[in-house]
């Protein structure tokens, strides 16, 4: 039995040094999160509040979205509504067309990744420039992010050095991160200067004031929106929150959970267009309103997209983002992928030992592991049950429902202990790939009990 994830993970792990580095680097972020979270006595109270605020907001989503849109429009911002990815992409393109915008600078947005916006715009002749350093590196390499917050975590400095030699004409053989970052700064500065439009995502949309809040460490969202006069915001509808009091709760949790920092360098509030400029917000549904109706999985709408779950996930750390078939990896990605398409993304559900660590780090207290367990239960119904797992489960069921049969099986099981090595350990024995089999006891506990040997 294997899945796309397990096969890809095996390939990932075959690079022993690389996979160890990946595991350690990401664990380090979990560790920093722990240090900061334990420095706030009110941490667990904040998590409870965060979960409660999100549950309230999401179950009153229509009211908050209407309020948010009304406020934003009163501030002179143009609000659009997109049912799906296609509509979102078309709205973005239409806005750019209206302004004859040819170059678009973007700060990081997983939503635009979800909508495949870049490919669409590029096919229409728009020059799209990612300005987050990690995203820009990936864009120049023409590959996808492997983590939602640290997208290029899997790329080594030498690879970046070689890339910049080719694309940015940096010094040959220089892979010093400071040197390379400075080269990127100059390169991206030119892009900011000549951009016609700037696009950001939204970490939060505050209903009470109509503010869009964008958090970055680089300042690239601010640079993207300070030169070009046109600002387009892509915002998932679940990102709306009630007010500033709620915002303070989320902000205190966000960076600590995501990167182990007390805050991102920049927490910017965009309320009105720049003087002489224009600001658009596109509210995107793309399946979110349907998720609301899913009794078992609606709480994924609470997600702040912080990445803490994947940082703690022992499986993600040892398999990397590319082992997952959905663009978001880790515990939240497994769940969101299944919500997007159970048929297409079921391979990721194997990527979980049900350790429940993710539940404990999630700043919104999403029951991630329980939801993964529940997806597993749905597999037989959707035709995705692995034949071998099914056969084993049915087989176990037969034996366990029949104590007499079970006893007989146990009587003969110790024979396995004595079988020739080659017979047991071969390609069919997945356990035996990296482990010795346990030995069956000569006498089971029940046998010992019956013999009066348990006293």
């Amino acid at each position: 039995m294997s899945t796309k994830h397990s096969k890809a993970a095996a390939r990932f792990l075959s690079n022993e040094e690389g996979s160890q580095w990946h595991n350690q680097s990401i664990w380090y972020v979990r560790d920093k999160r722990d240090t900061l979270s334990k420095g706030l006595p009110e941490w667990e109270e904040l998590r409870n509040l965060s979960s409660d605020i999100k549950r309230h907001t999401v179950t009153h989503l229509d009211q908050y979205l209407e309020k948010f849109a009304l406020q934003a429009e009163a501030n002179g911002v143009i609000v659009h509504w997109a049912k799906d990815a296609g509509e979102h992409n078309q709205i973005v393109y239409d806005i750019l067309q209206q302004h004859q915008a040819k170059k678009l600078v973007k700060s990081k947005s997983m939503l635009t990744e979800e909508c495949h916006l870049n490919d669409f715009l590029i096919s229409k002749g728009i020059d799209v420039v990612e300005t987050d350093l990690g995203e820009r590196i990936l864009q120049l390499m023409n590959i996808k992010p492997s983590h939602i917050v640290m997208p290029a975590i899997h790329i080594k400095r030498e690879e970046v050095g070689k890339l910049f030699e080719e694309k940015l004409h940096t010094e040959k053989g220089n892979s010093d991160p400071t040197y390379l970052t400075k080269a990127a700064r100059i390169h991206l500065r030119n892009e900011f200067m000549s951009a016609d439009a700037g696009m950001t995502g939204a970490n939060f949309g505050v209903a009470a004031s109509g503010d869009i809040v964008v958090c970055t460490n680089e300042g690239n969202a601010d640079m993207s929106t300070s030169m070009p006069k046109l600002h387009i915001v892509s915002m998932g509808i679940e990102k709306v929150i009630p007010d500033y009091a709620s915002l303070s709760v989320f902000l205190r949790l966000l960076a600590r959970s995501a990167t182990g920092q007390p805050t991102t360098t920049y927490t910017s509030h965009f309320r009105k267009a720049r003087p002489g400029g224009e600001m658009h917000i596109i509210l995107v549904d793309n399946g979110r309103s349907d998720i609301l109706g899913d009794e078992l999985h609606w709480e994924t709408l609470k997600c702040l997209r912080c990445g803490a779950c994947m940082n703690t996930c022992p499986v993600y750390r040892r398999s990397g983002g590319y082992s997952y078939t959905y663009f978001i990896p880790g515990p939240i990605g497994i769940n969101l992928g299944m919500l997007r398409s159970p048929q297409e993304y079921s391979d990721n559900v194997s990527a979980c030992s049900l350790c429940c660590s993710c539940d404990n780090v999630c700043p919104a207290k999403i029951n991630l592991s329980e939801q993964i367990y529940r997806w597993r239960q749905s597999f037989d119904t959707i035709g995705k049950a692995d034949k071998m797992k099914k056969a084993m489960s049915y087989g176990m069921s037969i034996i366990f429902n029949n104590p007499g049969l079970y006893r007989t099986a146990l009587k003969f099981a110790p024979i396995i202990n004595k079988l020739p090595h080659g017979l047991i350990y071969n390609g069919l024995n997945a356990w035996g790939q990296g482990r010795e089999l346990p030995s069956f006891a000569k006498h089971s506990f029940e046998e010992l009990w019956k013999k009066g040997q348990v006293k």
Partner: protein, 194 residues
């Protein structure tokens, strides 16, 4: 049905049961010495803190911090060493060679070194395009945490505002921390008594 109505209708249709809004009156962490905590955290996140002495002039202090700076942007009337005014530049791009921008911060936050800077000039590019950012902040306007900060600013009217904590940074290349990604590579906070 247009998309807005379709989305709202689908939301209404799918909400099964609702949850009440929780009361948010969490005081949050408080520090025995809020100013010292602010200074410590500001330095941890890569900023520098200077205290403006009673008899010192802020322009002299800035010149001492950045002796080589020739292009200084500020819309604050008290910054006489400014060579450019973000209020009067023709376009944002004209600020590109700014070495130092001087702004006033409204509130400082001790838990994370954030300083609230509402846009106070025509071109906010000044806050991000410079090599070094100087933020003037009254030590009397430092609060303990973000709950308090948001209470202070929530009724302000502004088109743009930002919390800035330390210099622009990235660790995107092999998790190696580098200051000065796209914006200020250094930040100096000048704490004043008033």
């Amino acid at each position: 049905m247009n998309s807005k109505d379709a989305i709202l209708a689908n939301i209404k249709k799918n909400i099964r049961h609702t949850y009440d809004k929780p009361e948010i009156n969490i005081p949050g962490i408080h520090y025995p010495d809020v100013i010292q905590q602010f200074i410590d955290i500001s330095e941890t996140v890569g900023g520098k803190v200077e205290k403006l002495a009673q008899d010192d002039d802020v322009n002299d202090l800035i010149k001492r911090c950045y002796p080589d700076a020739k292009k200084i942007a500020s819309s604050l009337p008290e910054i006489t060493i400014a060579t450019t005014n973000p209020n009067t530049v023709k376009q944002a791009q004209d600020l590109n060679d700014t070495e130092v921008t001087v702004v006033r911060g409204e509130w400082g936050v001790a838990e994370n070194g954030c300083i609230w800077i509402p846009q106070a000039a025509k071109e906010k590019a000044a806050y991000f395009i410079c090599e070094y950012l100087v933020i003037l902040l009254s030590s009397k306007r430092i609060v303990h945490n973000m709950h308090e900060a948001y209470q202070k600013i929530q009724f302000n009217d502004y088109g743009f505002g930002t919390f800035i904590s330390g210099p622009s940074k990235t660790a995107d290349i092999e998790q190696a921390l580098v200051m000065g990604a796209q914006s200020a590579r250094g930040v100096t906070i000048i704490l004043t008594d008033e």
